[in-house]
Protein backbone atom coordinates (compact mmCIF):
# COMPACT_ATOMS: atom_id res chain seq x y z
CA UNK A 1 0.00 0.00 0.00
CA UNK A 2 1.57 3.29 -1.17
CA UNK A 3 1.53 6.20 1.25
CA UNK A 4 -1.11 8.82 0.42
CA UNK A 5 -0.72 12.57 -0.12
CA UNK A 6 -1.49 13.49 3.44
CA UNK A 7 0.96 11.06 4.96
CA UNK A 8 3.65 12.16 2.55
CA UNK A 9 2.92 15.82 3.21
CA UNK A 10 3.16 15.25 6.96
CA UNK A 11 6.39 13.30 6.72
CA UNK A 12 8.16 15.69 4.39
CA UNK A 13 7.02 18.83 6.18
CA UNK A 14 8.23 17.54 9.49
CA UNK A 15 11.65 16.81 8.03
CA UNK A 16 13.83 19.86 7.82
CA UNK A 17 17.06 20.33 5.97
CA UNK A 18 18.09 19.22 2.55
CA UNK A 19 19.90 16.15 3.78
CA UNK A 20 16.90 14.99 5.80
CA UNK A 21 14.51 15.43 2.93
CA UNK A 22 16.81 13.53 0.59
CA UNK A 23 17.09 10.73 3.13
CA UNK A 24 13.32 10.53 3.36
CA UNK A 25 13.02 10.42 -0.42
CA UNK A 26 15.50 7.55 -0.54
CA UNK A 27 13.41 5.70 2.07
CA UNK A 28 10.19 6.40 0.22
CA UNK A 29 11.75 5.01 -2.97
CA UNK A 30 11.62 1.56 -1.35
CA UNK A 31 7.82 1.66 -1.55
CA UNK A 32 7.85 1.87 -5.33
CA UNK A 33 8.13 -1.48 -7.12
CA UNK A 34 10.90 -1.80 -9.69
CA UNK A 35 9.72 -1.72 -13.26
CA UNK A 36 10.59 -4.98 -15.03
CA UNK A 37 13.48 -4.62 -17.47
CA UNK A 38 11.10 -5.47 -20.29
CA UNK A 39 9.21 -2.22 -19.62
CA UNK A 40 12.30 -0.06 -19.24
CA UNK A 41 12.31 0.66 -22.94
CA UNK A 42 13.37 3.72 -24.86
CA UNK A 43 9.76 4.61 -25.62
CA UNK A 44 8.91 4.74 -21.93
CA UNK A 45 11.99 6.77 -21.08
CA UNK A 46 11.59 10.40 -20.22
CA UNK A 47 14.41 12.75 -21.17
CA UNK A 48 16.53 14.07 -18.34
CA UNK A 49 20.26 14.24 -18.29
CA UNK A 50 21.21 13.15 -14.81
CA UNK A 51 19.22 10.01 -14.26
CA UNK A 52 16.98 7.69 -16.19
CA UNK A 53 13.25 7.81 -15.63
CA UNK A 54 10.53 5.61 -17.09
CA UNK A 55 6.84 6.36 -17.22
CA UNK A 56 3.92 4.24 -18.42
CA UNK A 57 0.42 5.66 -18.37
CA UNK A 58 -2.89 4.03 -19.14
CA UNK A 59 -6.55 4.63 -18.45
CA UNK A 60 -8.51 2.10 -16.46
CA UNK A 61 -12.20 2.67 -15.71
CA UNK A 62 -11.67 6.31 -16.76
CA UNK A 63 -8.94 6.69 -14.19
CA UNK A 64 -5.30 7.48 -14.86
CA UNK A 65 -2.92 4.67 -13.93
CA UNK A 66 0.80 5.25 -13.68
CA UNK A 67 3.84 3.02 -13.56
CA UNK A 68 7.05 4.83 -12.77
CA UNK A 69 10.65 4.03 -12.09
CA UNK A 70 14.10 5.58 -12.01
CA UNK A 71 17.64 4.34 -11.57
CA UNK A 72 18.16 7.09 -8.99
CA UNK A 73 16.67 6.52 -5.56
CA UNK A 74 16.15 10.19 -4.82
CA UNK A 75 14.26 10.62 -8.08
CA UNK A 76 12.34 7.42 -7.35
CA UNK A 77 11.27 8.96 -4.05
CA UNK A 78 9.97 11.94 -5.96
CA UNK A 79 8.10 9.57 -8.25
CA UNK A 80 6.24 8.33 -5.18
CA UNK A 81 4.95 11.89 -4.88
CA UNK A 82 4.00 11.94 -8.55
CA UNK A 83 2.10 8.70 -8.02
CA UNK A 84 0.32 10.05 -4.95
CA UNK A 85 -0.70 13.15 -6.86
CA UNK A 86 -1.84 11.65 -10.15
CA UNK A 87 -2.46 7.91 -9.92
CA UNK A 88 -6.12 7.04 -9.90
CA UNK A 89 -7.27 10.53 -10.89
CA UNK A 90 -10.06 11.05 -13.42
CA UNK A 91 -9.06 12.70 -16.67
CA UNK A 92 -10.89 15.90 -15.83
CA UNK A 93 -8.97 16.35 -12.59
CA UNK A 94 -5.46 16.04 -13.98
CA UNK A 95 -5.06 19.55 -15.32
CA UNK A 96 -6.22 20.99 -12.01
CA UNK A 97 -3.54 19.28 -9.94
CA UNK A 98 -0.92 21.77 -8.82
CA UNK A 99 1.98 19.39 -8.45
CA UNK A 100 4.56 22.15 -8.55
CA UNK A 101 2.74 23.97 -5.82
CA UNK A 102 2.71 20.84 -3.69
CA UNK A 103 6.42 20.30 -4.17
CA UNK A 104 7.09 23.89 -3.19
CA UNK A 105 4.94 23.40 -0.08
CA UNK A 106 7.04 20.36 0.80
CA UNK A 107 10.27 22.36 0.43
CA UNK A 108 11.24 20.41 -2.67
CA UNK A 109 10.82 23.11 -5.29
CA UNK A 110 14.45 22.84 -6.18
CA UNK A 111 13.75 19.57 -7.95
CA UNK A 112 11.23 21.28 -10.14
CA UNK A 113 13.51 24.08 -11.19
CA UNK A 114 13.21 25.08 -14.77
CA UNK A 115 16.22 22.83 -15.09
CA UNK A 116 15.97 19.98 -17.49
CA UNK A 117 18.64 18.24 -15.48
CA UNK A 118 16.36 15.79 -13.76
CA UNK A 119 13.46 14.42 -15.70
CA UNK A 120 10.79 15.46 -13.20
CA UNK A 121 9.47 18.48 -15.08
CA UNK A 122 9.26 16.33 -18.20
CA UNK A 123 7.37 13.60 -16.31
CA UNK A 124 4.76 15.99 -15.05
CA UNK A 125 4.47 17.50 -18.50
CA UNK A 126 3.92 14.08 -20.07
CA UNK A 127 1.26 13.19 -17.57
CA UNK A 128 -0.57 16.45 -18.18
CA UNK A 129 -0.32 15.88 -21.93
CA UNK A 130 -2.06 12.52 -21.47
CA UNK A 131 -5.18 14.05 -20.03
Amino acid sequence: MMPDRDTLTRQLKSTTGWEGKNRLLVQMARELPTLPASLRTESHRVQGCESQVWLITHWQDQLLRLQLDSDSRVIKGLLVLVLAAYDGQPRAAVAGIDFNGWLAELGLARFLSSSRANGLAAIVQRIRDEA
Binding site: Q47, C49, E50, R110, S113, S114, S115, R116, A117, N118
Partner: protein
Protein backbone atom coordinates in the same frame (compact mmCIF):
# COMPACT_ATOMS: atom_id res chain seq x y z
CA UNK B 1 -1.88 61.10 -20.17
CA UNK B 2 0.95 61.13 -17.66
CA UNK B 3 -0.26 62.44 -14.35
CA UNK B 4 2.94 64.26 -13.46
CA UNK B 5 5.91 65.47 -15.44
CA UNK B 6 8.68 62.99 -15.99
CA UNK B 7 11.67 63.70 -13.74
CA UNK B 8 14.65 62.97 -15.97
CA UNK B 9 17.06 64.89 -13.78
CA UNK B 10 16.24 62.60 -10.86
CA UNK B 11 16.57 59.55 -13.08
CA UNK B 12 20.12 60.57 -14.03
CA UNK B 13 21.21 59.80 -10.49
CA UNK B 14 20.46 56.13 -11.25
CA UNK B 15 23.27 56.12 -13.82
CA UNK B 16 26.76 55.91 -12.31
CA UNK B 17 28.52 57.00 -15.51
CA UNK B 18 26.39 60.11 -15.85
CA UNK B 19 26.65 60.90 -12.16
CA UNK B 20 30.44 60.66 -12.34
CA UNK B 21 30.66 62.86 -15.44
CA UNK B 22 28.26 65.73 -14.81
CA UNK B 23 29.67 67.69 -17.74
CA UNK B 24 29.04 64.91 -20.22
CA UNK B 25 26.07 65.42 -22.51
CA UNK B 26 25.43 61.99 -23.90
CA UNK B 27 23.33 62.17 -27.05
CA UNK B 28 24.48 58.94 -28.70
CA UNK B 29 21.78 56.76 -27.16
CA UNK B 30 20.78 55.07 -30.39
CA UNK B 31 24.27 53.56 -30.52
CA UNK B 32 24.05 52.33 -26.96
CA UNK B 33 22.44 53.59 -23.76
CA UNK B 34 24.08 54.06 -20.39
CA UNK B 35 23.23 51.51 -17.68
CA UNK B 36 21.30 52.18 -14.50
CA UNK B 37 22.81 51.01 -11.23
CA UNK B 38 20.08 48.37 -10.94
CA UNK B 39 21.47 46.60 -14.00
CA UNK B 40 25.08 46.69 -12.84
CA UNK B 41 24.02 45.53 -9.40
CA UNK B 42 21.94 42.66 -10.77
CA UNK B 43 24.83 41.32 -12.83
CA UNK B 44 27.29 41.73 -10.02
CA UNK B 45 24.92 40.21 -7.50
CA UNK B 46 24.51 37.21 -9.74
CA UNK B 47 28.27 36.69 -9.99
CA UNK B 48 28.78 37.26 -6.26
CA UNK B 49 26.01 35.02 -4.95
CA UNK B 50 24.80 32.57 -7.57
CA UNK B 51 27.19 32.04 -10.45
CA UNK B 52 27.04 28.49 -11.85
CA UNK B 53 26.31 26.93 -15.18
CA UNK B 54 22.62 26.63 -16.00
CA UNK B 55 20.39 23.63 -16.79
CA UNK B 56 23.20 21.19 -16.19
CA UNK B 57 24.05 20.58 -12.59
CA UNK B 58 21.89 19.72 -9.61
CA UNK B 59 23.64 21.60 -6.85
CA UNK B 60 22.24 24.59 -5.00
CA UNK B 61 24.04 27.28 -7.00
CA UNK B 62 23.24 25.64 -10.32
CA UNK B 63 19.60 25.49 -9.34
CA UNK B 64 19.55 29.14 -8.35
CA UNK B 65 21.38 30.14 -11.54
CA UNK B 66 18.88 28.24 -13.67
CA UNK B 67 15.96 29.84 -11.85
CA UNK B 68 17.46 33.29 -12.32
CA UNK B 69 18.16 32.69 -16.00
CA UNK B 70 14.72 31.28 -16.75
CA UNK B 71 13.22 34.06 -14.66
CA UNK B 72 14.97 36.52 -16.97
CA UNK B 73 13.36 34.80 -19.93
CA UNK B 74 9.96 35.26 -18.31
CA UNK B 75 10.70 38.94 -17.78
CA UNK B 76 11.49 39.39 -21.46
CA UNK B 77 8.29 37.54 -22.35
CA UNK B 78 6.30 39.80 -20.03
CA UNK B 79 7.97 42.92 -21.40
CA UNK B 80 6.96 41.98 -24.95
CA UNK B 81 3.63 40.49 -23.89
CA UNK B 82 4.58 37.20 -25.53
CA UNK B 83 2.12 34.33 -25.18
CA UNK B 84 4.77 32.18 -23.51
CA UNK B 85 8.36 32.47 -22.40
CA UNK B 86 9.08 29.54 -24.72
CA UNK B 87 8.79 32.10 -27.50
CA UNK B 88 11.90 33.94 -26.28
CA UNK B 89 15.31 32.91 -27.60
CA UNK B 90 18.29 34.65 -26.04
CA UNK B 91 20.87 35.87 -28.54
CA UNK B 92 23.87 38.21 -28.44
CA UNK B 93 21.69 40.97 -29.82
CA UNK B 94 19.48 41.99 -32.72
CA UNK B 95 22.04 41.11 -35.33
CA UNK B 96 22.41 37.52 -34.18
CA UNK B 97 18.65 37.20 -33.82
CA UNK B 98 18.08 38.26 -37.44
CA UNK B 99 20.82 35.92 -38.64
CA UNK B 100 19.18 33.10 -36.71
CA UNK B 101 15.89 33.70 -38.49
CA UNK B 102 17.62 34.02 -41.87
CA UNK B 103 19.70 30.90 -41.46
CA UNK B 104 17.18 28.64 -39.73
CA UNK B 105 13.75 29.77 -40.90
CA UNK B 106 14.98 31.25 -44.15
CA UNK B 107 17.12 28.34 -45.26
CA UNK B 108 14.42 25.82 -44.43
CA UNK B 109 11.45 27.74 -45.82
CA UNK B 110 12.57 29.81 -48.79
CA UNK B 111 13.27 28.74 -52.33
CA UNK B 112 14.81 30.23 -55.44
CA UNK B 113 12.61 32.98 -56.80
CA UNK B 114 11.05 33.82 -53.45
CA UNK B 115 11.11 37.47 -52.49
CA UNK B 116 12.04 39.26 -49.30
CA UNK B 117 10.89 42.84 -48.94
CA UNK B 118 13.11 45.11 -46.86
CA UNK B 119 12.59 48.80 -46.36
CA UNK B 120 15.13 51.43 -47.34
CA UNK B 121 15.08 52.49 -43.68
CA UNK B 122 16.79 49.33 -42.51
CA UNK B 123 19.98 49.01 -40.54
CA UNK B 124 22.59 46.78 -42.21
CA UNK B 125 21.69 44.12 -39.66
CA UNK B 126 18.29 43.81 -41.33
CA UNK B 127 19.71 43.83 -44.86
CA UNK B 128 22.94 41.86 -45.03
CA UNK B 129 21.64 38.59 -43.48
CA UNK B 130 18.94 38.57 -46.17
CA UNK B 131 21.46 39.37 -48.88
CA UNK B 132 23.68 36.49 -47.79
CA UNK B 133 20.66 34.18 -47.83
CA UNK B 134 19.48 35.55 -51.17
CA UNK B 135 22.87 34.98 -52.71
CA UNK B 136 22.98 31.41 -51.43
CA UNK B 137 19.42 30.51 -52.34
CA UNK B 138 18.62 32.60 -55.39
CA UNK B 139 16.08 34.79 -53.63
CA UNK B 140 15.22 38.32 -54.62
CA UNK B 141 15.60 41.24 -52.21
CA UNK B 142 13.12 44.00 -52.95
CA UNK B 143 13.54 47.42 -51.32
CA UNK B 144 10.60 49.66 -50.39
CA UNK B 145 11.50 53.26 -51.33
CA UNK B 146 10.93 56.27 -49.13
CA UNK B 147 9.10 59.53 -49.53
CA UNK B 148 11.14 62.72 -49.35
CA UNK B 149 10.37 63.12 -45.63
CA UNK B 150 11.70 59.66 -44.83
CA UNK B 151 8.35 57.95 -44.55
CA UNK B 152 7.85 54.56 -46.13
CA UNK B 153 6.21 54.80 -49.55
CA UNK B 154 3.17 52.70 -48.71
CA UNK B 155 1.85 52.72 -52.27
CA UNK B 156 5.12 51.36 -53.54
CA UNK B 157 5.05 48.80 -50.74
CA UNK B 158 1.56 47.66 -51.73
CA UNK B 159 2.72 47.32 -55.31
CA UNK B 160 5.78 45.28 -54.35
CA UNK B 161 3.82 42.73 -52.34
CA UNK B 162 2.98 39.70 -54.42
CA UNK B 163 2.58 35.98 -54.31
CA UNK B 164 6.36 35.47 -54.28
CA UNK B 165 6.71 37.66 -51.18
CA UNK B 166 7.63 35.42 -48.28
CA UNK B 167 8.96 37.87 -45.74
CA UNK B 168 8.81 41.57 -44.94
CA UNK B 169 11.75 42.78 -42.82
CA UNK B 170 10.96 46.14 -41.28
CA UNK B 171 12.23 48.37 -38.54
CA UNK B 172 9.91 49.68 -35.85
CA UNK B 173 12.01 52.86 -35.56
CA UNK B 174 14.80 53.93 -37.89
CA UNK B 175 18.12 54.34 -36.10
CA UNK B 176 19.31 56.78 -38.76
CA UNK B 177 16.41 59.21 -39.23
CA UNK B 178 13.82 58.29 -36.59
CA UNK B 179 10.96 57.23 -38.84
CA UNK B 180 8.39 54.96 -37.25
CA UNK B 181 6.71 53.05 -40.09
CA UNK B 182 3.02 52.30 -39.71
CA UNK B 183 3.66 48.75 -38.55
CA UNK B 184 -0.01 47.82 -38.27
CA UNK B 185 -0.53 48.73 -41.92
CA UNK B 186 2.68 47.00 -43.02
CA UNK B 187 1.71 43.80 -41.21
CA UNK B 188 -1.89 43.84 -42.40
CA UNK B 189 -0.79 44.23 -46.00
CA UNK B 190 1.78 41.44 -45.67
CA UNK B 191 -0.95 39.17 -44.33
CA UNK B 192 -2.98 39.61 -47.53
CA UNK B 193 -0.25 37.79 -49.48
CA UNK B 194 0.58 35.37 -46.67
CA UNK B 195 4.03 36.86 -46.06
CA UNK B 196 5.73 36.69 -42.68
CA UNK B 197 6.89 39.87 -40.98
CA UNK B 198 10.07 40.38 -38.99
CA UNK B 199 10.12 43.53 -36.89
CA UNK B 200 13.48 45.04 -35.93
CA UNK B 201 12.69 46.64 -32.57
CA UNK B 202 16.32 47.50 -31.76
CA UNK B 203 15.56 51.18 -31.42
CA UNK B 204 11.90 50.96 -30.43
CA UNK B 205 12.56 48.85 -27.36
CA UNK B 206 13.84 51.73 -25.23
CA UNK B 207 11.04 54.09 -26.23
CA UNK B 208 7.85 52.26 -27.17
CA UNK B 209 5.59 49.82 -25.39
CA UNK B 210 5.80 46.62 -27.41
CA UNK B 211 2.99 44.07 -27.48
CA UNK B 212 3.84 41.27 -29.87
CA UNK B 213 0.39 39.74 -29.60
CA UNK B 214 -1.36 42.97 -30.51
CA UNK B 215 1.16 43.66 -33.25
CA UNK B 216 0.52 40.39 -35.07
CA UNK B 217 4.06 40.10 -36.44
CA UNK B 218 5.89 36.78 -36.71
CA UNK B 219 9.38 37.64 -35.50
CA UNK B 220 10.68 40.52 -33.41
CA UNK B 221 14.25 41.20 -32.35
CA UNK B 222 16.03 43.60 -30.03
CA UNK B 223 19.37 44.20 -28.29
CA UNK B 224 19.74 44.72 -24.56
CA UNK B 225 22.45 47.34 -24.79
CA UNK B 226 20.12 49.79 -26.51
CA UNK B 227 17.54 49.47 -23.73
CA UNK B 228 19.64 50.20 -20.64
CA UNK B 229 20.84 46.59 -20.50
CA UNK B 230 24.27 44.96 -20.78
CA UNK B 231 26.19 44.28 -23.97
CA UNK B 232 26.25 40.70 -25.23
CA UNK B 233 22.55 39.97 -24.86
CA UNK B 234 19.39 40.37 -26.89
CA UNK B 235 16.39 38.36 -27.85
CA UNK B 236 14.40 36.89 -30.66
CA UNK B 237 10.69 36.57 -30.17
CA UNK B 238 8.97 34.23 -32.60
CA UNK B 239 5.61 32.56 -32.60
CA UNK B 240 5.65 29.06 -31.16
CA UNK B 241 4.48 27.34 -34.32
CA UNK B 242 7.28 28.99 -36.29
CA UNK B 243 9.94 28.07 -33.75
CA UNK B 244 8.67 24.52 -33.60
CA UNK B 245 9.12 24.13 -37.34
CA UNK B 246 12.58 25.68 -37.44
CA UNK B 247 15.65 23.42 -37.65
CA UNK B 248 18.63 24.06 -35.39
CA UNK B 249 21.16 26.64 -36.51
CA UNK B 250 24.16 26.24 -34.21
CA UNK B 251 25.05 22.88 -32.69
CA UNK B 252 26.36 22.09 -29.22
CA UNK B 253 25.32 21.62 -25.63
CA UNK B 254 21.80 22.65 -24.49
CA UNK B 255 20.26 22.37 -27.94
CA UNK B 256 20.41 18.60 -28.10
CA UNK B 257 18.26 15.85 -26.67
CA UNK B 258 20.58 12.95 -27.37
CA UNK B 259 23.91 12.84 -29.21
CA UNK B 260 25.54 9.82 -30.75
CA UNK B 261 27.75 9.28 -33.75
CA UNK B 262 24.85 7.36 -35.27
CA UNK B 263 22.51 10.32 -35.01
CA UNK B 264 21.50 13.23 -32.86
CA UNK B 265 18.09 14.48 -31.79
CA UNK B 266 17.33 18.04 -30.83
CA UNK B 267 15.73 19.76 -27.89
CA UNK B 268 12.53 21.76 -28.15
CA UNK B 269 12.48 25.56 -28.61
CA UNK B 270 13.73 27.87 -27.23
CA UNK B 271 16.61 25.60 -26.15
CA UNK B 272 17.07 24.21 -29.65
CA UNK B 273 18.33 27.66 -30.64
CA UNK B 274 20.58 28.29 -27.66
CA UNK B 275 23.63 26.13 -28.31
CA UNK B 276 26.31 26.26 -25.65
CA UNK B 277 26.49 28.09 -22.37
CA UNK B 278 24.22 31.13 -22.73
CA UNK B 279 25.11 34.68 -21.62
CA UNK B 280 23.64 34.01 -18.18
CA UNK B 281 24.74 37.09 -16.26
CA UNK B 282 23.78 39.27 -19.22
CA UNK B 283 20.28 37.79 -19.39
CA UNK B 284 19.87 38.65 -15.73
CA UNK B 285 21.18 42.17 -16.38
CA UNK B 286 18.76 42.53 -19.26
CA UNK B 287 15.84 41.48 -17.07
CA UNK B 288 16.90 44.11 -14.53
CA UNK B 289 16.95 46.73 -17.31
CA UNK B 290 13.50 45.78 -18.51
CA UNK B 291 12.17 45.77 -14.95
CA UNK B 292 13.66 49.23 -14.49
CA UNK B 293 11.95 50.37 -17.69
CA UNK B 294 8.63 48.73 -16.80
CA UNK B 295 8.62 50.58 -13.50
CA UNK B 296 8.74 53.95 -15.28
CA UNK B 297 5.64 55.74 -16.47
CA UNK B 298 6.17 54.78 -20.10
CA UNK B 299 3.70 57.33 -21.49
CA UNK B 300 5.40 60.09 -19.54
CA UNK B 301 8.79 58.86 -20.68
CA UNK B 302 7.70 58.95 -24.32
CA UNK B 303 6.24 62.43 -23.88
CA UNK B 304 9.45 63.60 -22.25
CA UNK B 305 11.66 62.28 -25.03
CA UNK B 306 9.38 63.67 -27.70
CA UNK B 307 9.33 67.08 -26.07
CA UNK B 308 13.13 67.18 -26.09
CA UNK B 309 13.23 66.26 -29.77
CA UNK B 310 10.68 68.95 -30.63
CA UNK B 311 12.61 71.55 -28.64
CA UNK B 312 15.71 70.67 -30.64
CA UNK B 313 14.07 70.42 -34.04
CA UNK B 314 12.09 73.63 -33.62
CA UNK B 315 15.27 75.54 -32.92
CA UNK B 316 17.11 73.93 -35.81
CA UNK B 317 14.34 74.58 -38.29
CA UNK B 318 14.97 78.27 -37.77
CA UNK B 319 18.51 77.94 -39.17
CA UNK B 320 19.10 77.91 -42.90
CA UNK B 321 22.52 76.24 -42.69
CA UNK B 322 21.13 73.11 -41.05
CA UNK B 323 18.92 70.56 -42.72
CA UNK B 324 16.84 67.98 -40.89
CA UNK B 325 17.22 64.62 -42.59
CA UNK B 326 13.98 62.76 -41.98
CA UNK B 327 10.89 64.73 -41.05
CA UNK B 328 8.24 62.02 -40.94
CA UNK B 329 5.34 62.59 -38.57
CA UNK B 330 5.47 60.52 -35.36
CA UNK B 331 9.27 60.27 -35.42
CA UNK B 332 11.14 58.62 -32.61
CA UNK B 333 13.41 60.66 -30.33
CA UNK B 334 16.31 61.18 -32.67
CA UNK B 335 17.33 63.85 -35.12
CA UNK B 336 19.67 63.49 -38.08
CA UNK B 337 21.34 66.59 -39.52
CA UNK B 338 23.21 67.74 -42.58
CA UNK B 339 24.96 71.12 -42.81
CA UNK B 340 25.29 73.36 -45.81
CA UNK B 341 28.80 74.61 -45.02
CA UNK B 342 30.27 72.07 -42.65
CA UNK B 343 31.08 68.40 -42.59
CA UNK B 344 29.17 66.52 -39.86
CA UNK B 345 32.43 64.99 -38.66
CA UNK B 346 33.97 68.41 -38.08
CA UNK B 347 30.89 69.59 -36.24
CA UNK B 348 30.95 66.50 -34.05
CA UNK B 349 34.62 67.08 -33.22
CA UNK B 350 33.88 70.51 -31.82
CA UNK B 351 30.84 69.24 -29.95
CA UNK B 352 32.98 66.49 -28.47
CA UNK B 353 35.50 69.08 -27.32
CA UNK B 354 32.66 70.51 -25.24
CA UNK B 355 31.68 67.13 -23.83
CA UNK B 356 28.74 66.56 -26.16
CA UNK B 357 28.66 63.04 -27.55
CA UNK B 358 26.80 62.60 -30.84
CA UNK B 359 27.34 60.25 -33.71
CA UNK B 360 28.40 60.96 -37.25
CA UNK B 361 28.40 58.58 -40.16
CA UNK B 362 26.12 56.41 -42.21
CA UNK B 363 24.67 54.84 -39.05
CA UNK B 364 25.00 51.37 -40.59
CA UNK B 365 22.27 52.38 -43.02
CA UNK B 366 24.12 53.11 -46.25
CA UNK B 367 21.17 52.39 -48.55
CA UNK B 368 19.19 54.98 -46.60
CA UNK B 369 22.03 57.51 -46.88
CA UNK B 370 22.27 56.74 -50.60
CA UNK B 371 18.55 57.45 -50.91
CA UNK B 372 19.15 60.89 -49.41
CA UNK B 373 22.31 61.27 -51.47
CA UNK B 374 24.38 61.84 -48.36
CA UNK B 375 27.48 60.07 -47.18
CA UNK B 376 26.90 60.89 -43.54
CA UNK B 377 24.76 62.81 -41.09
CA UNK B 378 25.19 63.99 -37.52
CA UNK B 379 22.74 62.18 -35.27
CA UNK B 380 21.43 63.34 -31.90
CA UNK B 381 19.61 60.52 -30.16
CA UNK B 382 17.75 60.94 -26.90
CA UNK B 383 17.07 58.83 -23.89
CA UNK B 384 15.18 58.87 -20.60
CA UNK B 385 17.98 60.68 -18.77
CA UNK B 386 18.38 63.56 -21.18
CA UNK B 387 17.15 66.92 -19.94
CA UNK B 388 16.21 70.13 -21.68
CA UNK B 389 19.45 71.82 -20.68
CA UNK B 390 21.24 69.13 -22.73
CA UNK B 391 19.39 70.44 -25.76
CA UNK B 392 20.13 74.06 -24.92
CA UNK B 393 23.82 73.40 -24.41
CA UNK B 394 23.92 71.49 -27.67
CA UNK B 395 22.20 74.31 -29.53
CA UNK B 396 24.61 76.88 -28.16
CA UNK B 397 27.59 74.70 -29.06
CA UNK B 398 26.17 74.21 -32.55
CA UNK B 399 25.90 77.99 -32.96
CA UNK B 400 29.54 78.46 -32.09
CA UNK B 401 30.73 75.50 -34.13
CA UNK B 402 28.89 76.42 -37.28
CA UNK B 403 30.23 79.94 -37.01
CA UNK B 404 33.76 78.66 -36.54
CA UNK B 405 33.41 76.37 -39.54
CA UNK B 406 31.57 78.89 -41.71
Amino acid sequence: MPTQPFDAAMLRADFPLLAAQPDLIYLDNAATTQKPRAVLNAERHYYETTNANVHRSAHRLAHAATEAFEGARSTVARFLNAASSDEIVFTRGSTEAINLVAQSWGRSQLQAGDEIIVSTLEHHANIVPWQLLAYERGLRIVAVPLLANGQLDMDAYAALLGNRTRLVAITALSNAIGTRPDLAAVIAAAATVGARVLVDASQAVAHDVIDVQALGADFLVFSGHKAYGPTGIGALWARTELLNAMPPWQGGGEMIERVSFAGTTFNRPPYRFEAGTPPVAQAIGLAAALDWLIALDRAALAAHEDALRLRLETALLARDDVRLVGTAPNKGPLTSLAFSHAHPFDVAQFLDARGIAVRVGHHCAQPLMDAFNLSSTLRISLSAYNVSSDIDTLLAALDDTLELLA
